[in-house]
Structures are given as structure tokens and as C-alpha cells.
Amino acid sequence: MTPPRPYTPRTARKFIGAYRPRIDAMEKASGKVQFVDDITLKSRFPGMLYAKVMRSPYAHARIKSIDASLAEKLPGVKAVLTCKDPEVSSLKPTSAGWTDGVDTVSYERMMWRHFRDRRVLGDHACWATDEVGAVVAAETEQIAEEALKLIKVEWEVLPFVLDPLEAMKPGAPVIHPEISPNNILPKDPVGGADIFVDKGDVDIGFAGSEVVVEATSVHHNATQASLDNWCCLVDWKEDKLTVMSNSYEADQSRMHISQMLNLPINKVRVISSYVGGQFGRGDTGDQPFFLFTALLSRKSGRPVKFRHSRRESFHDSRQPAIYTGKIGARKDGTIISMYFKGIGNSGAYADHTMFAMKFAPTEITEVALAYIPNVRMETYGVYTNKLPACMMRGVGNSQFNLIFGHVVDMLAEKLKMDPVDLALKNFGHEWGGLPDKSLTAVLCEGAKRIGWKEKRHKPGKGPVHDRTKKRGVGFSFHPAWHAEWQEARRGEIRIRITVNPDCSVVLDAPTVETGTGSNTCNVLGCAEALGFLGITTDDIVWPHTVDTETSLKDCVQTDSAVSYLQSEVVARAALEVKQRLLEKASKLMKAAPEALDIAGGRVFRKAAPAKGLTVKDVFMKGDMLPVVVEMGRAPNSERTGVPYIANFAEVEVDTATGRVQVLKLVVLNDCGTVMYASGAEAQQIGGQVIGVGEALTEEIIYDQATGVPLNFNWIDYKIPTMADMPEIDPALLEVWRGAGEYGACGIGEGTVTCTPRAVLNAIYNAIGVRIDDIPVKPEKVLKALGKA
């Protein structure tokens, strides 16, 4: 074990950047935190019913007829709705990709409005276990399940397709003919043309290249696997609908429900509190189950709870993608041409497919590929009868990194260059020169910490350990994508600071607490900004419940950016707090506000600092009214570029069994400013569970004969446990700087992005054979070694 190396802040601050516990650490460690499934126990809502939805047993089918009369008669059943009921069938077609979470949007402005392929409780099942046909509300979950079995359904079983390459061929089963005649998602104004990046001329670039490499990489179906299964309780009484849920986007949930059910916005109340892990699941909560649960509540006149079981919570996945990449360079390592083609397996519904396929590659083009003269990118999203895919700790970034880091590593080998040198020679960003300072910092620090020079050897030519085991090192890097200017679409972010007469503070900076640590960042930022009050973090209360009826609009937990976005507003609001306190004091102290100052909780005359009043006295001797400052501020759109992230891996491959063991990971993030060091390290370390899982074990397996998923459980879908995880060395850096008081950058999503490719490059270094698709299970290694 290497001893930990704490980061050194670029600017010393009192609170921001601290190594310290989370603000909710004790509440969570003692199990007192209440998640929505806890809050909505039947003992707390005596009249509550449970909903269960019918799931398609077929990968692709239509309901020809449905008869729920027996189910309705089962004792304990209080409401049944089927796809034939007008209140269901009249609902507008929708998408679970209304927004990427950055902004709240209406039905008309939903991001993927051209792919409204979802029906709320429709009659068309597009993947095995799709939520279709009927939904039941009953006194217990068991009765609801019994009732579903009593519903007679005549299915028209349709041919299905799982492989996107097969789905693109003429004659393949067509899944959403109203949107695409050939399963390929049509061009749309949001995602752009199929060839969505075309800089210079790649053909001329390749013709003029002295060295060209070409490769493929395949990213399979991994799932977010939040421990907290989807759960909501909907209570629709008269004209008012209240939803408690573990959706991470309260304002957007309210808009979604209001627009789909034609209710005034103020008649929909959404309450979200602690969420047990998010990781991008369900996109932005525009899930049809909120709506059918609401309709059951209206029909039964009772609060209705709908929750997924673990098996049902296999509800979304990371966008599986097949990428091919080609890269051409001069012998000196100057890259002159790059071409990438992606085929995204959308699964049953389009959702954010084209966001994953186009957003991340476009962003890397404007950043990392700024100095490459010829770049072309082409992509296709394809419907299949698999689990739909959406965001998962990033959107398309991991998938793109898997091919990007692949061709870079291959080119370096062919050029006989160190890939670190190749990367620094070519990749920077349009706002800076080459070599890029941030990229240099993450790669050099990573190389040092993993022991790059000492451990790296010719592919497959390292020493053999324990007779059959070979070791190797590899890395991958990516530009981050959460600088303040990239968050401009959020519009105004509003917060409210209340300073009470005793100088205790309430910070209303609403965001759904999903575990990211932004709540602690906010309190640190508030203590920092209100430093003149002489308070500590213990003097600040941060309300953890977002309630659309009483809270300000929530700043959505997406892009890992809440860690600094609200603190940037707090920093400005604190100046206004100070001004208001000075005005209060000026009456008591008979001096102009300009003649006064506040420090350490004391108001004093600038001319005579020794004399003065405590801020508490100013309140207590004055009007006793709290100082309340509410402020909104749009993110600073100054184009400051972005920092880099990287991941270095050391692996050991058992050539006899094919088992890959990751020995060590170094996770590097240039943060701009570290807002909360322990939280940032927890994100860096924590992301590796998803990263290592996706690299080695996590994959949804389908029965090829029926299209039925086989491992919707955590025994066969293998998530790494403590015993599976290597030593992880988190490295926080502050090299790049963004705009604003802190100039920080979100890091959480990006901690996952480079892991699979770093592991794959390390495997290649160990055994000298490349494996192109993840997860790298032992059979793939043995096959690559010619042993199976």
C-alpha cells in the first residue's frame, strides 16, 4: 500500500476543500435517514394501496385483447386500469428523455420530442418485462400480484431483434414503425445529422498519414443499480395531486405530471428527500409509472404506492455501443486524421440514445481534438428489443472513451512512442496551447503514482508471477465536462440565506440529496462566504427535503456540478447579507454603513475597530428580524475550457484461468478547486465500483432464443464487492481554473469514464493480445489467448 497523499489546495481557505465528515454522516451512519420507501410505510399512511403493473413475458408483442373482470372482483383489489381505459389510452405519447436534467422543459420542448415512442401503460411491449397492459391497486402487494395473474391477455407475439447490426438489416422486425421504418433513429434537429462532426477532410488526412491504425470497441448493457429501488407514493385528492418519490428532479417531475395529466402546475406537489443512489437512472424521472400510479389514486380515492422490486429495477442501462475508430499520424507522432463511427443500441425506446451517441463525442472534439486537423464522426441509434438505455454516470462518455483510448494506445505502440508522450503531443483544447497544462498534470502524476516507467513493458513480455500470472499497466484520459460555462442552460440558480437573530443560518439551496456530497459542499461554501459572522458549519442548517410547494426550484443533481454551482451563488448572496447587516447596525451605532465593517461576528467602526457590537447584539437590540437574502444567478458562461481526468490501472491476468484482477487504480481529477476533499475522494474511489464492474463483470445477459433477460438479480449480475476491489489511489489536482469565485468543475461522473479503457489497455500490456469488448470475462481472455 502506498501511503495516501492528501492534496494541497492552491488557495488556502477555512472551510472549502476540507477533509471532514459529510454533514449528514451521523444521521446516515445511524440509519436515521428516511428514504421514500421508509416514509411511505403503510403504518404511516393507513389508507394506502399498493400498485403492481403487468409486465410483458415477451420481448416484442402486442395486446390483442385484455379482460380484467376477474381481477376487479378479487377481495382487496381497489382499482384496476388497463390500456383500453380511456383515461389511459388518451394520454399523449411520451419519452423518458424530456431533458438531460440541466433544465426543466415542457412537453413541447422535450429534448427528444421527435422520438415520442412511449405510451403510458400501452398495448405494445417492446422488451421482455416492459410495463404494459394493466395496473392494479390493492390492499397489499401480494393481492395486487394475484390480481395481475387473473387478468386474461391475448398476446400477439411479434418477432424480435436484440443485435443492433441485425436490426439495421432489411427485413428485421420493425419496432416503432411510426418513428422509423428500419429501426434506425431518423435525423433530428437536436442530435443533428448522422455525420455530426466533419472537420477538414479525413480522407485526405488518412492518405497523407504515414501510420494508420483501426480498431473496434464494444460496450455492453450495464445498469445503474442504485440500491434504493424506484418508489413513489401518489395521493390525488380532489383537484390536488401530491407525489413523494425518489426521483432526483422535483421541478421537472412536477412539470412532467402537470403536462401529461393536464393539471395546473400549482396543483401538483412533488416532494423528494434522500435518494439511495442515482447514477443517471430513469433519465430525469419522466417515467410513465408516476402517471399510472396517479390515475390509480384518482380512481381509488386512496394514496397509492408503486415500488419496483430489485428485478423490476433493472429498468434502464448504459447505452450499449459498438464503435469503430481510425487514426492516422506522421512518424513523429503528429495525428492528422481521426474517424469514429458509432452504432448505439437504443433498446426498446429512444430516450437519450442520441444524446449519448452525439453529445460526448462532440464535446471531446471541441476540447481534446482541437488540434487534430481532420476529424469525422458518424453515428446511428438503433431500436432493438433490449432494455432501454439512458444516462449512467455520464452520457456516452465511457462508451466513447473505450474507443478513443483504444486507438491512442494502438497508435503509440505502432509509432514506438510512450502513449503519455503521444497524448501530450496531440491533445489539448481550443482555449490553450500544447502541451495542455491540465493534461500534463494528470498524466504525469498518474504515471508517477502507478509506476508507469518501471512497470510498463512490451505487450505480453513482462515477468510471469506464480507460474501463470502476468501483469500490465495502462491508462486512459478524457476531458471533463462540468465547468460552469457548460451549465449555462440551467438558467438562474436560486438560493436563499436566512441569518437568524442568534446568527444561526438556514441555507435554502434545494437539490435532491442523492449521496453526491453536494450538500456538504453547500454548507462549506456557506460557512466560507459568511466567514465574517464568525460561524462554523455547525451553525448552518441545510434543509434536505425538496418540496415544490415550499422550496425554491431545485438545482438538479446532474453533471456532478451542484458541488459548486450553488456555492457560487452563495458567495455573492453573502455580500448582500453583509450589506444588510451593516445597514441594521448603522441605525444602532449611529454611523453610515460605509463607515462600518464586520469580522469575526463583530460590527465595528473602521476608524475605531476596538469598539463595536456583536452581530447578535445588532439583532437583539434592534428589530429582531432575521436577514433574508434570496438571490438568483445564471452560471457564468465565460469560455474557460475544461480540465482533464485520467485513470491508470495495474492488472494481473491469470493466463491459465483467464481471470483478470485489478491490482491498483490511480484516479486523477483536475478539479479547478476542490470544494470538499473527503467527498471528492469518495467520488473518485466510489466511481471505480461501477468502472471495474463494467470492465470485468457487469452485463445483462439475454436468452437469444426468447429475448428474455436472464440475470435481473444481483447474484448473476455481478457488482464488485469489497473483496473484488483493488487498492485505489485518489489524486485531486488544481491546475485548470474556471470562472467565478471558485472556478471549480464537477468530477463525479468522470471518475467512471476512463476506468474500463485503462483496465483494457493494462490487460493488453499484460498478455499482448487485445480484447475489444467489455466486460472482460475469463472466457474472453482464454479465447484471446487461443485457449478456448
Binding site: 492528501p6 454522516a25 410505510l41 403504518s43 439511495g276 449521496g515 453526491t516 473527503s678 457488482i719
Partner: protein, 178 residues
């Protein structure tokens, strides 16, 4: 064929199911308070409101529902409530406020290891699993901690911080016991 008298099994009025939960004896009647198939996790959460334990998989794969039975860590989703008859169950609600394991989980911020929790959903299960481990092995090595807690899943991935917290709990006290 069993006679009429043999139907008077456990859980009827004459022989209720008795489970001591967090120090207090509870009596349950089969058929009225619980069914033969009722799991311990369902009884504790849904009937009695002990919501510290979580049911995330309901099939013994994640450890979020871990409680102590006679001081040993058990998965309450894999135990029938009737199996707890005559035993002592401890949930996280039954631990004292200043329990050293809880405190170690809350306090962990040692540089290089992150925090021991993020979303906090798996945490009560990990705390109880750690209690069970320390009851059996008061001074576990890092390898023994890894092995001992490998039945629990933390999707936020705080394994480094958790291992550190358990190590600290074992160092500061006699195996996490006060």
C-alpha cells in the same frame, strides 16, 4: 396424519412467537400478526417500522437488510420471521447513540480513503455486518475485513472508507464493543 391436537403449533394463542427485538420481547400470533412465509425483514420494516434496515434485493445478494441475531450478522430478508422465535434481534435502532462502529462510519474522512458513506442506503447493513464481524473477530486484519464484509454491496463504492472505519472501530475499542 396429524391429529387435531397437533395443529396447536407455535404462534397460536397458547404458544405465541416470541422475538426479543432491541431488548424488548415481542409476541406475535401466527395468522394474525404474521404468516409462515413472512420474512424477518418484512416484519421488522413493514409491521414494526424499523426502517434502518433496507430491502434492496430481497434475495440475499446485497446485505442491506443485515441485522444481528444473538450477536451474529444475518440477512433478515433470508430469514423467516418464525425462525427468529426465541432469539434476540438487534437492529441499528437498538445500537446506542455513541456506538463506536456508527461513530467510526460517520467520522471517516482520513485522506486517501474518502468517506465511509455517500447516499447512506447500504450503511445500516454495513454497520450491522461490521458489528457481527467484530463480535466474532475483535481485531480483524484488513484482509479479514474485506472478506467479512464482502456480502454487502455499496454502489456508491465507499469500500475503502468503510474498511478504514471498521479498522478504526476495532482499534479504538475492544472490537467495537464498549
Amino acid at each position: 396424519m396429524p391429529g387435531k391436537s397437533e395443529k396447536r403449533t407455535r404462534g397460536t394463542k397458547s404458544s405465541p412467537i416470541i422475538i426479543k427485538i432491541n431488548g424488548k420481547a415481542h409476541e406475535f400470533e401466527l395468522g394474525r400478526d404474521l404468516e409462515p412465509e413472512t420474512t424477518l425483514s418484512f416484519l421488522l420494516r413493514e409491521k414494526l417500522g424499523y426502517t434502518g434496515l433496507k430491502v434492496a434485493c430481497d434475495e440475499g445478494a446485497c446485505g442491506a437488510c443485515t441485522v444481528l441475531m444473538d450477536g451474529k450478522a444475518v440477512l433478515s430478508c433470508m430469514k423467516l420471521a418464525v425462525e427468529a422465535h426465541g432469539h434476540e434481534i438487534q437492529t441499528i435502532e437498538g445500537l446506542p447513540k455513541d456506538d463506536p462502529v456508527i461513530k467510526a462510519f460517520a467520522d471517516q474522512c482520513e485522506p486517501g480513503y474518502g468517506t465511509a458513506l455517500q447516499c447512506g442506503f447500504c450503511t445500516p447493513g454495513f454497520v450491522m455486518a461490521a458489528k457481527g464481524l467484530l463480535n466474532e473477530n475483535p481485531k480483524p486484519s484488513p484482509a479479514e475485513i474485506k472478506e467479512g464484509l464482502s456480502g454487502n454491496i455499496c454502489r456508491c463504492g465507499c469500500y475503502s472508507g468503510i474498511a478504514r472505519a471498521v479498522l478504526h472501530a476495532s482499534e479504538t475499542t475492544e472490537g467495537g464493543k464498549k
